[in-house]
């Protein structure tokens, strides 16, 4: 753990995401041989950090990310988001999901709703804002993701990049404190990746706390404040971005970086 992160913990600043020893296992071939998708993962993430999770496929990056908003259940350990423990209490879960936005690899827009309805549904139903408040939020957001001329289009009428930007706007409309990105650019054509990455960069610059699973090393280098390197369900290395790429410590990290850089 780098000195900066240690300092933050020492300074008594409360992490916005606190993960303590979570495990996610699936039954293996025999009883004593469970397969761990996530193994003893502990991490503190502070306000304003952009944490990029990298690692080979099957390392448990997505599973870890999906644990953070309760889409995936974990078998043991503890997750506390913004002071709320993530547990079997449904109320806590809904509370946490209000504060944690998520963007998916396959966009997952609602195909039967226009962009306007996609973005406004949760704001109206969960945040319980009025139509006019909703319109104000939407105008700002759609401008931010540069898609304001498509409010009345259906998802199928948009390109992949446009759809993903709508998905980002939809998550942002809830005014979350944390944004999770699960390989948000992996399903996009090359020429559309940058338009989505740019939106994510702007978001990071505005100080949004972000946890990003991605294969875009350029983005990781440029935007991340911190890198988590995962392999076989474990966090192998957890360091600030610059020193991670320039002076990796663990052998597994070095091997991985040498393959992709």
């Amino acid at each position: 753990m780098s000195s900066n992160i240690k300092n933050k913990i020492k300074s008594g600043k409360k992490p916005i995401i606190s993960v303590r020893g979570i495990n996610r296992k699936f039954p293996g071939n025999d009883k004593n041989n469970d397969i761990f998708a996530v193994k003893n993962v502990s991490v503190d993430i502070f306000q304003g950090e952009v944490v990029v999770v990298i690692g080979p496929s099957g390392a448990g990056k997505s599973t870890f990310l999906r644990c953070l908003n309760g889409l995936e259940i974990f078998d043991s350990g503890e997750i506390i988001i913004d002071g709320i423990p993530l547990n079997h209490h449904h109320k806590n879960l809904l509370e946490i999901r209000k504060e944690v936005g998520m963007v998916f690899q396959s966009f997952n827009l609602f195909p039967h709703m226009t962009v306007r309805k996609n973005v406004s549904l949760a704001v109206r139903r969960v945040r319980k804002l009025s139509v006019s408040e909703c319109e104000n939020i939407m105008t700002d957001l759609l401008q931010k993701v540069d898609i304001e001329d498509k409010v009345d289009s259906f998802p199928s009428q948009l390109s992949g990049g446009q759809q993903q930007r709508v998905a980002i706007a939809r998550a942002l409309a809830m005014n979350p404190r944390v944004m999770l990105f699960d390989e948000a650019t992996s399903a996009l054509d090359p020429e559309m990746i940058s338009e989505v990455l740019n939106v994510m960069k702007n978001l990071a610059q505005e100080g949004m706390t972000m946890v990003v699973v991605t294969h875009e090393m350029g983005f990781a280098r440029e935007v991340a404040s911190r890198i988590l390197f995962m392999d076989n369900g474990e966090i192998v290395e957890d360091r600030e971005a610059e020193s991670f790429f320039n002076n990796p410590v663990e052998d597994r990290t070095k091997a991985f970086l040498s393959k992709i850089l």
Binding site: N69, G70, L71, L94, R97, K98, V100, G101, M102, F104, S106, N108, L109, F110, P111, H112, L121, A122, R125, V126, F154, S156, Q157, A167, R170, A171, M174
Partner: protein
């Protein structure tokens, strides 16, 4: 343009030729049987004129009215029962799943006629249910079981990502069903559900066995009085056909109108 018109004319000719052959065979066979066609007597059973000149619905039309009433009520109830059963089967409660499953297996694995008899002869006297309500109850329970499997299949066909994105936005399970899953499901299941509605209308003919004066019963009564066997049964069949075809056409129209771009 001209070739299209030619094709249409040619197709129509083929169609009329086919129908013509059918009618010819029918007439031929009736000649063999020495059947005395009396179509002119049929309109009297569709519209009846009382001696003092008042016009009222004939017996067939009144039977048709009963059939429509039973079918529409049963459709509404069958859909509701189907929806509830599907949601119970998909719920996380074991008790709910067992109850739904038991109902489903019981209904799907016994004949509708027997169910109708059990409800009419056993259950109805105990709870003092009228014959009409017994008929609606039996049909709703029967078709509801099939509808529930259609609805369940439709819900399962919705991509997992739709649930996940709805949940990740903090929507409750009820809101997710109501705003995200069911609207997409309905679109998916409209064609098989229409089939089920058509089945229901046809199955409703069975209620004539429990002393309900529906279209089939009316036909039966008229035939036994007048021996207009062919004419009346053809007319009755045609009336069922009109009902089922108009349902299909209506749903087709709905589908077209609700066709959000995919």
């Amino acid at each position: 343009m001209i070739s299209v018109r030619k094709a249409v004319i040619f197709d129509s000719l083929k169609y009329f030729f086919f129908i013509g052959v059918l009618v010819f065979l029918l007439v031929l066979s009736s000649l063999h049987m020495n059947y005395n066609w009396q179509w002119y007597r049929v309109p009297g059973y569709i519209i009846s004129y009382s001696p003092d000149g008042d016009v009222s619905a004939g017996r067939l039309i009144r039977g048709l009215g009963v059939t429509i009433k039973i079918s529409v009520l049963s459709l509404v109830f069958a859909f509701s029962i189907g929806m509830i059963t599907a949601l119970l089967r998909l719920s996380s409660s074991i008790a709910a799943r067992v109850v739904a499953r038991a109902y489903l297996e019981l209904i799907r694995n016994t004949p509708l006629l027997i169910q109708l008899f059990i409800i009419y002869f056993v259950i109805a006297p105990v709870f003092n249910i009228s014959p009409f309500n017994s008929a609606v109850l039996a049909l709703s329970l029967f078709e509801g079981a099939y509808a529930s499997e259609i609805i369940r299949g439709g819900i399962n066909s919705i991509a997992k990502g739709q649930w996940e994105s709805a949940y990740s936005l903090g929507l409750s399970t009820i809101d997710t069903y109501f705003f995200i899953i069911l609207p997409q499901t309905i679109k998916q299941i409209l064609p098989p559900l229409t089939n089920q509605a058509v089945s229901l209308i046809k199955d409703s003919a069975l209620v004539s066995t429990i002393a309900i004066y529906d279209l089939t019963m009316a036909g039966q009564a008229i035939v036994s009085q007048t021996f207009l066997t062919f004419e009346i049964w053809f007319t009755v069949a045609f009336m069922y056909l009109v009902m089922t075809v108009s349902i299909s056409a209506f749903v087709h129209y709905l589908e077209k109108r609700n066709n959000y771009v995919q």
